[in-house]
């Protein structure tokens, strides 16, 4: 819509690059702006609960940092990222079984930027990127920004399905397509809420290496499992065929914007040059803050605090859904991370239902946002990371009420009377980062 209005008013409409055609603002954004009001229970956003951080210690750490090393912390730094922090990142990655050299790490302004750089370095317009069905909306946004052809591969209860992956690869290659990346979130999937087990990871890796396709392993939630065992990263078993993306957004704080990529040497070299073109260098200020925090605070204990907090909220979501949701509604059972993926009863469209949900003071992200092909209409992503357990229960009650009302409409007037999403859509189909 806004594109059509823009076309008439914008004197530069003929000047944009071809890739800019995909950059349109979705009408759904205004709904999420409403959903950010305090009276709405938002099960939409993926905001970590940073209030659980020890703020006084954080403040002291930063204050000392500026007093003692301000001249460096407030200065330009290396395009690749601070060497001390890269050393510390190897310790963090050791928790998921990865043994890496600091020189193979590029620090970025959040792992979203690492994702952007990887696509910049690998993807020409029309190249194929394979992603899970569904997949992380922020990744789909990057792929579309570089005019990649995104192809979804089926998941099952263990995550990305290796047989489907292999079939998709063969079929695309028969069509002469160039497949550049397999993008996967093996641990506590966003939005799927499920994890690949160890043998599943081996199978996915086997299919990728046999076909010589690089795996892009996105792992923001790996340390946030609820079962005591930390899933071993795919990268832990193969340093040549996997680029690993990590983030401090969920283990420390998202507002710092510090993430990283771990890549084979030749790729890492190109990522650094691409990073320098993109932002010159990541913020020393944010990097040194993370580095000081890791050096002086009990960060492993703090991650345990986060785990317990999110486990309690996951339980609140699952328990209340079990009691309150109408028959025919199903959902995944996450063993870590931030999300559950809910499937509505046949005949109900999650995007069409969203305005009524927001009116009933509960918000979620419609499933279509996690597909590039209009799928996901019966699904939605529910986040339990930010609201308190009490709010979550309240929100699930409201949501169940809205679904029941839809079911009544459906029973009374039949499927033709039901509102539905008019056509496959993809765009900024999710909340803006601040409207979570």
């Amino acid at each position: 819509m806004s594109q059509i209005v823009g076309s008439r008013l914008d004197p530069w409409v003929e000047s944009y690059a071809a890739r800019t055609a995909s950059m349109t603002v979705s009408e759904i954004r205004s709904l999420f702006a409403v959903a950010s009001r305090p009276e709405v229970v938002s099960l939409a956003g993926g905001m970590p609960y940073v209030s659980a951080l020890p703020m006084d210690q954080m403040a002291d750490t930063v204050s000392r940092l500026i007093r003692e090393r301000g001249a460096v912390a407030l200065q330009y730094g290396s395009g690749q990222g601070d060497p001390t922090l890269r050393e510390q990142i190897t310790e963090v990655m050791a928790e998921v079984g990865i043994h890496a050299h600091p020189d193979d790490i590029v620090v970025t302004a959040g792992s979203q930027m690492a994702l952007d750089l990887m696509v910049r370095v690998f993807v020409d317009p029309g190249d194929v990127v394979l992603v899970e069905a569904p997949s992380y909306v922020g990744a789909l946004g990057v792929f579309s920004a570089y005019q990649a052809e995104v192809v979804h591969v089926a998941m099952d209860e263990q995550g990305l399905n290796p047989a489907a992956l292999d079939e998709t690869i063969q079929s695309l290659r028969k069509q002469g397509k160039k497949i550049k990346l397999i993008y996967t979130i093996p641990s506590y999937h966003n939005p799927g809420g499920i994890s690949q087990g160890p043998s599943r990871r081996q199978q996915v890796l086997e299919v990728a290496t046999r076909n010589h396709i690089l795996i892009l392993e996105d792992d923001p939630y790996g340390l946030l499992g609820f079962d005591g065992e930390v899933p071993r990263a795919i990268r832990a078993d193969d340093a040549d065929n996997v680029v690993y993306l990590g983030s401090f957004s969920k283990t420390i704080a998202s507002g710092l914007r510090v993430g990283w990529a771990l890549a084979p040497h030749a790729i890492r070299e190109k990522l650094v040059i691409a990073a320098e073109a993109a932002i010159l260098c990541p913020s020393n200020y944010a990097q040194f803050t993370v580095s000081s925090y890791l050096a002086t605070q009990p960060w492993r204990e703090q991650i345990k605090v986060f785990r317990e907090l999110y486990r309690e909220r996951r339980d609140a979501l699952l328990d209340s859904m079990k009691v309150l949701m109408p028959d025919g509604t199903t959902w995944t059972t996450p063993s870590g991370g931030f999300y559950s993926w809910l499937t509505l009863p046949e005949g109900i469209d999650s995007k069409a239902m969203l305005p009524r949900a927001v009116t009933a003071l509960v918000a979620y992200v419609p499933g279509t946002g996690f597909y590039v092909n209009g799928e996901g209409r019966r699904a939605m992503r529910l986040s339990y990371c930010y609201p308190t357990p009490e709010s979550i229960k309240e929100g699930v009650g409201r949501l169940a009420g809205v679904i029941r009302a839809e079911l009544e409409l459906l029973e009374t007037f039949g499927p033709d009377a039901m509102p539905h999403t008019p056509m496959p859509t993809f765009g900024a189909n999710t909340p803006a980062p601040d409207s979570l």
Copy 2:
């Protein structure tokens, strides 16, 4: 060089995007690594002298910020940037004559990122970007990353030459080329060290609007003039045909990585979507730090401190060059900013001379780094922003000695015996951000 080695070892060499072909590491990088040793006087880098900041007040500001507003400062924020900071940015821009609405501002991870987003939104491979001759190396890096055709336009003692600009436009259009942007640094040019006067700016704007080409005005140094008068931005006289890039890197601190773009509404909307794909959102932590600093510290007074500091260093550079440089060496006289552009006597190649200069414990950036076409061999950029006046004098003495030695060689053995840069080069032809 590294590309050839990489080709043999890198199993992914066939997988890279076409744009990645330009991403090679220059051999000059290792020289600058040497040049970062403390015994070398570096006139190479553009590092602001952040030690002049009141570190105790900075530390207190940040400490209070985290204690009082940590839950928001450490959280994800808006893709467009914090509304309060955008409001404050309008006050900063009022200093260069711009009256803008906060909604037209996009906050970015340094203005380098704003530049990257602008090129992402406007430039298809093969599109032309017009730049000054010479131009900022970081901008050339972005243009090349998006496969733009960069065309240099002559400067004179008043900066970008409007007649040459018009001629270049007509000639390129006759060749059927699409010109997307005119990239200019009108105030205290990097690396030229000169400024466009008011009537020159009007002429440049007239040529641009008559030809309907967008001006990309990069203004990191506008508030760092030495003559008391702040140059009026081009954007101050035209809100429709100019996108303005601003930065806190030189007025507060480069390590924060906070810059911005001010753009007409339709363009701003696309920049935000592109920014969300690139990094989700700029760092709330860095933004709130800037915002608190602006709200609680005498920032205009601090800019005056920086001005006086850089003026003293500029004087040290100019005075010692006047005394020490051999005949036939010329340079520009900056009235603000960080740089002077020096031209060597005929027959001396600045890039070929660099190893000898580094051996003599002085460093600069060879002129070729600021051109995409191999020009600039007789030129170099000298920065006076970071070393003390005493160091600058010492460095100029060493540099003059190296030039004299080259001149003696030239007189004794003739031009054929002189080392020269073997061919037009462009790449990471300047120091890495941390080797300044």
